[in-house]
Symmetry: C2
Subunit: 468 residues, 2 copies
């Protein structure tokens, strides 16, 4: 029971391969794309991601946290850009040591592949697309991109870490031997990546250590810094039925009209705006949930293959890395004192899904919530008052108060599902206390905090009584 | 723009065909199964359904309400059977005139087919399974079950009313020309139908005018009366991981052990219990949601094809019939003063989905809620106290109070989504007032009602502030 086949060598698959090899398993890692360390790929062009505490915990488990941090640019808060090009920095937390990191996806992926390859019991095969998985027998057939030849790999167990469009998951969906619950939900918005290049001497054209955001109601632009001085910019825009949308931004004139109106400071920073706009593809924003994640004690889905989420909480990669941490914990709790060869994978997979599923669902829902919050709420006065109050709470009472964002992003000791429950109750408590005028200026900050905590507990209690 | 193709001649498709023909359209209705008026089919064996106000409204629209009522047996409440075979009747409403009806699915389907066939502009084709739908061109290919020949039908628009496993919907799912959000969720329980036969002289073996229910925590048995004196019994049972489940009820001895323990009064009423148990198939309980329901202004999904729900609110057929009512309203509001041939189907379909989608989602969620409530809550003291209070409210203040169940089942003037929102808030208000001891015996019933109403409004207000 030692041979493990991992399908998909993205961030989750690479970290999983590394960790499972460290545990002594024989690992074969198969990737449909070329080796991104040898071939420059569009798919890995300039995409960067937000790496935060839950992700770092996964990297720490595999002993690569320090190396990974060299690829990171700390972002201490959101730099909000209004329509008149005014900016203000909204910190992610009232605690000084809490920030998120901008990291290059291909850079981090390369690091993980390098580390995995150093271990003798890891074999990595690129350019092989998964065509079919025999779920009951733990074998899979791949097609070599170059020779077009088929390769069949027989394993003891298979991990599907092949991302949001997972071929392994599709085999589960199409199998009619068990009931497979499945959901794919698309947002009404798509996204397009653009680039703010570095200055001629390699400097940053705007403030380096922030996640920049231009909230405009229905639309939104964000930018994350890269090590080379550039920023990767992402435009989130409705497909249709809006004054400006992908359906009507069809000419350079329209693109410039739109950007000049909504993001004038960005126009100055992107020299080839229209070119980039029409060259780069429109990406889709979807949430995928499914259950069970495993079948026949032979195959398990992890990472985006099991739970693809929209990017608005910056938790996609972090959730995938946390998957590896939770899986490793389950393996440790169930494997000892057994030998490796005696692993009962069916029990391991069941226990893993039991522990993890509710948290994967929670971060998916939180990410969709945040899509609406970032678009709409950042401009609403009551939400700004809430945010201000929470920042002061976190600064003055760092051990006593964590905002929903902080619970999700910095408090990896509690689960996503707990963060969702508590975070939503806190938000509801503060918003209603503000709306009812119950938080008055005469109160001390401590009194305000106690009131919020009491109201939060009342909300949690009332929900518990009604919904269990 | 006059030729309408309706795929699926079940309850929704038959009513839609009848109504569209009454409006003057040329209707072709295609069904994969044989004509159930000529061939006795297992699929239509003895299944009965609960018909309530929303469904009756659809039948009324098509002028067949009175005929349909002849097929109905009124059920005034739930007859609860405890493990010691004690029974008590829990009325569906505190208002005397509110009840639901047990009706035969094939009986009602035959009535609708008969009525549709009377109209010259309706053509019905049986034994033709849909193989492919050209979504952009409103044509579909069918295979004749007997001759195996293919038949292509070209229409102006197509309605997919082919049920939970819709072939039309599958064409939308597999099309990659637009983003199709889709969800299928299976419960951990399956169901099996059994029959309590009529007595030798055609009488009923238990009380006729009730929906019988044997709640047992994880498991549940229900029974609805048929016109011939029999009852159709449905067992809801987990597939696995339970003391008694489909996975371990594998011998007649096990089946009798289980029924004797949990449902002793039923054993006496089903002479061939084990035979029936092993002959009848296990059914699956799933919720299907999707969006968009329409594509290219040419194809629209309705009924279970668009929104299959679990049966625990008795609203599946009622929701489908209400679909036809809402669609008819949209057509009326947009068609006049246009001539038929000028219908802009894209606008009609969009407007219909906009009005209807949130309500289809709501009844799907309510039905899953009720699965848990029926299994677990009926045995919990606080839920029984709530139910008792609500029944008195409805009896004493029939114009002022509607329980969640009554809002959904009897108050067709408000939508499912409104019923969900208000019903959940009311439930939460009452449960918390009871839990906090705020409803005291000294209070008059009117005072209790006012307190519940006030608390409900406060809950709705707080949610509005926090979640919009």
């Amino acid at each position: 029971m030692n041979n493990i086949l991992i399908i998909g060598a993205g961030l989750c698959g690479s970290l999983l391969a590394l960790r499972m090899a460290q545990r002594g398993f024989e690992v074969t890692l198969v990737e449909k794309r070329p080796d991104l360390r040898k071939v420059t790929q569009d798919a890995g062009r300039s995409i960067n991601l937000a790496l935060s505490d839950r992700g770092l915990r996964g990297l720490r488990l595999a002993g690569v946290e320090e190396e990974a941090k060299k690829l990171c640019i700390p972002m201490n808060g959101r730099m909000i850009h209004d329509a008149k090009s005014n900016t203000f920095l909204s910190p992610y937390s009232g605690r000084k040591d809490e920030y998120i990191n901008s990291v290059s996806r291909p850079g981090l992926n390369m690091l993980l592949l390098d580390e995995a390859e150093k271990i003798p019991n890891v074999k990595i095969i690129f350019n092989h697309a998964c065509e079919e998985v025999d779920l009951e027998n733990a074998s899979a057939v791949f097609k070599d991109f170059n020779t077009k030849k088929e390769l069949k790999i027989q394993a003891d167990v298979i991990f599907g870490t092949d991302g949001a469009g997972s071929a392994v998951r599709k085999n589960m969906f199409d199998s009619h031997k068990f009931l497979f619950s499945f959901s794919q939900q698309w947002l009404s918005h798509g996204y397009k990546e653009l680039e703010i290049p570095a200055t001629e001497n390699g400097g940053y054209r705007t403030y380096k250590n922030a996640l920049h955001i231009w909230p405009r109601g229905e639309d939104m632009l964000i930018a994350l810094p890269n090590l080379d001085g550039s920023f990767t910019v992402t435009l989130f825009l409705p497909y249709e039925n809006s004054d400006y949308c992908f359906a009507n931004l069809t000419t350079p004139e329209m693109v410039y009209e739109y950007f000049n109106k909504e993001f004038p400071d960005v126009v100055e920073m992107i020299p080839n705006l229209a070119d980039e706009f029409f060259t780069n593809p429109i990406g889709q924003l979807g949430t995928v949930k499914c259950s069970p994640w495993h079948s026949f004690g032979k195959v398990l889905l992890m990472g985006d293959a099991a739970h693809a989420i929209v990017p608005f909480y910056g938790q996609g990669m972090n959730a995938s890395f946390e998957d590896v941490v939770v899986f490793d914990e389950v393996l440790s709790s169930l494997q000892q004192p057994l030998q490796k060869k005696e692993v009962d994978w069916n029990i391991v997979f069941s226990e893993y899904e039991k522990r993890r599923k509710k948290d994967a669902d929670a971060i998916a829902d939180l990410a969709v919530d945040n899509f609406h919050e970032m678009k709409e709420h950042t401009a609403m006065e009551i939400f700004q008052r809430k945010r201000k109050l929470e920042t002061v709470f976190e600064a003055e009472f760092p051990e006593e108060y964590y905002s929903k964002y902080s619970l999700v992003t910095f408090k990896e000791s509690i689960s996503y599902s707990e963060a969702l429950k508590r975070g939503r109750a806190q938000d509801k408590a503060i918003l209603n206390l503000l709306d009812d005028g119950k938080i008055s200026e005469e109160m001390s900050l401590k009194e305000k905090l106690e009131l919020v905590k009491k109201e939060t507990e009342a909300i949690l209690h009332d929900d518990e009584v009604a919904f269990g």
